[in-house]
Symmetry: C2
Subunit: 317 residues, 2 copies
């Protein structure tokens, strides 16, 4: 392996950093994790990543000249020059990721991107979007992330806001303020968090109703709601229907902008699979008569590895 | 000129075909029009275009080998291979535009695209989007057309529906059926037609009100409404405010998908200029807190020439 070119894909999350080593054809050779040290405005994060990569290179006998590149995804808006202005999730102010990593790996191609966009790139390249010309990835997690991929290129936009579909305004009557400063954003309704909020609202509004969701009490999670809905619980079904309605509508809007071949649903809630996709599709069809019957809605395939795949892809091009 | 390479941009409309001859740097050398003959399922349209081009070549002493390419825009969805399945505006069923034109111009590069996308390409390349990395064009005419340009490449989508932003569902209470089969579409409210409909609704709902729009009677046009609004007419201002509200919101959604550097407003209504742009911007800012203050809203510059510029650009790449 010492003579073969390889590359690294790095996915920096709020708790752990996932790292993958890929061969030059883009096959995952090994992967591991290190903790994300957020103390002191996150100043240790990139040095920790660099040190972990150097250790691995030494262990596997990889020379610097054999490293084709290092791709890195971080949870914040990344400008085209590989800098972030601010990344609240990591405690960073202005940070020149490429510049910092280049000090450790001189001459190596370094590319940086937003984590949701990078994960979308991974799914489009090696996951559910493989072989598709054009795909939109929707990640239903704590928020709603997204990525728009056109011919395995991510549309990150001019201010790094491309694919920020969680902040499409979609619901007028929702007056709670979103963390973007707006209200009625898609992610306030269609994320895992939003689904729980919706279910709790419904339970509160119908105290006389029996619901299997009540067993979970305050600890009710999105996956519990899905489980109850699959069992036919009326209020759980209603919560998922509301989520699917707004999500299906948002996908319809997105289709009229970029017209993807496939929508890829990822994140924890997507484990509901076809049960959820069919409900989303119903509303998507209704609000996108021009493409509704033509685009597919599928579940993501790579799970938590999407980020390292996408990060690697950035330097394999 | 006989020795210099040139190319042709062709913009096929429902009434006339506009044709431009460009030098290889993309400067417009001459332009002219021929009628669009829609009889017999539009079978004469492409032969008429070919004949007109041949005449011009003969007049100007242009040899076939000096023609770098011919780009053509038509009012319908165009697939990546340059065919249309159906183009109701021209009477066409399945039509292989590239194949037909190649018979007249063997060896010449022929490219075809949707007219709104092609006009957007023209504006992005040589008009209001010149020098921008990323732009979305919104054409407010009989309907609302659009085009999404990323680095002077148009995102036409997998089914030719990219940039069909006029069919973003935006207004729940609007139950009239749109020609796409949906309802509450952006173009039902924000086109020239939609603005007239809105103004007539307001006049009907407030018969006791005086309005300078009443002078125009049934013949009221979008430009009259703009003129009345600029003069301070209350109902005309209200109609334009409603249009701007929904348009601003739609632009906010689009920003969360592709995050453009600039939105270019074209079409007849866009002649209202800053008066209209400021109103759209107000709502755009409100619903896109993440990018609102960063993206510009500007008026298109090329007018009816956008289509021939964009068509030429397709073959100059």
């Amino acid at each position: 392996m010492a003579k073969e070119k390889c590359c690294f894909g790095v996915d920096v999350g709020g708790t752990t950093v996932k790292i993958g080593c890929f061969d030059k054809e883009g096959h995952l050779i090994s992967k591991w994790e290190i903790p994300t040290r957020k103390e002191s405005q996150g100043k240790y994060i990139l040095p920790d990543v660099a040190e972990s990569l150097k250790e691995r290179m030494e262990m596997d006998g990889i020379e610097l000249e054999n490293v084709q590149g290092i791709g890195i995804g971080v949870p914040g808006p990344v400008l085209a020059n590989g800098t972030v202005e601010r990344c609240v999730n990591l405690g960073w102010g202005h940070t020149d990721m490429k510049g910092i990593l280049r000090q450790y790996f001189p001459g190596v191609d370094i590319e940086a991107g937003n984590d949701a966009n990078v994960a979308a790139l991974g799914e489009v390249w090696r996951g559910a979007g493989r072989g598709k010309k054009n795909a939109v990835m929707v990640t239903l997690g704590t928020g709603v992330g997204g990525g728009v991929g056109i011919a395995v290129q991510i549309v990150s936009g001019v201010h790094g806001m491309g694919g920020e579909i969680g902040h499409i305004h979609i619901r007028d009557e929702d007056q709670d303020t979103c963390n973007c400063g707006g209200h009625g954003c898609l992610e306030q309704t269609a994320s895992a968090t939003g689904l729980v909020r919706e279910a709790k609202r419904l339970l509160q509004a119908a105290p006389e109703k029996t619901s299997s969701m009540l067993e979970y009490g305050e600890k009710l999670e999105a996956k519990d709601i899905v489980a109850c809905a699959v069992q036919g619980d009326e209020l759980a079904l209603k919560a998922i229907d509301t989520m699917s309605f707004y999500l299906g509508r948002a996908l319809a809007s997105i289709a009229m902008v970029v017209d993807p071949e496939v929508f890829i649903i990822g994140g924890g809630v997507s484990r509901a699979g076809k049960f959820l996709n069919d409900k989303i599709e119903k509303y998507y069809y209704e609000y996108a008569p021009l493409t509704g019957s033509k685009s597919e809605i599928v579940t993501a395939l790579l799970g938590n590895d999407a980020g390292i795949y996408g990060a690697a892809k950035m330097v394999l091009d």
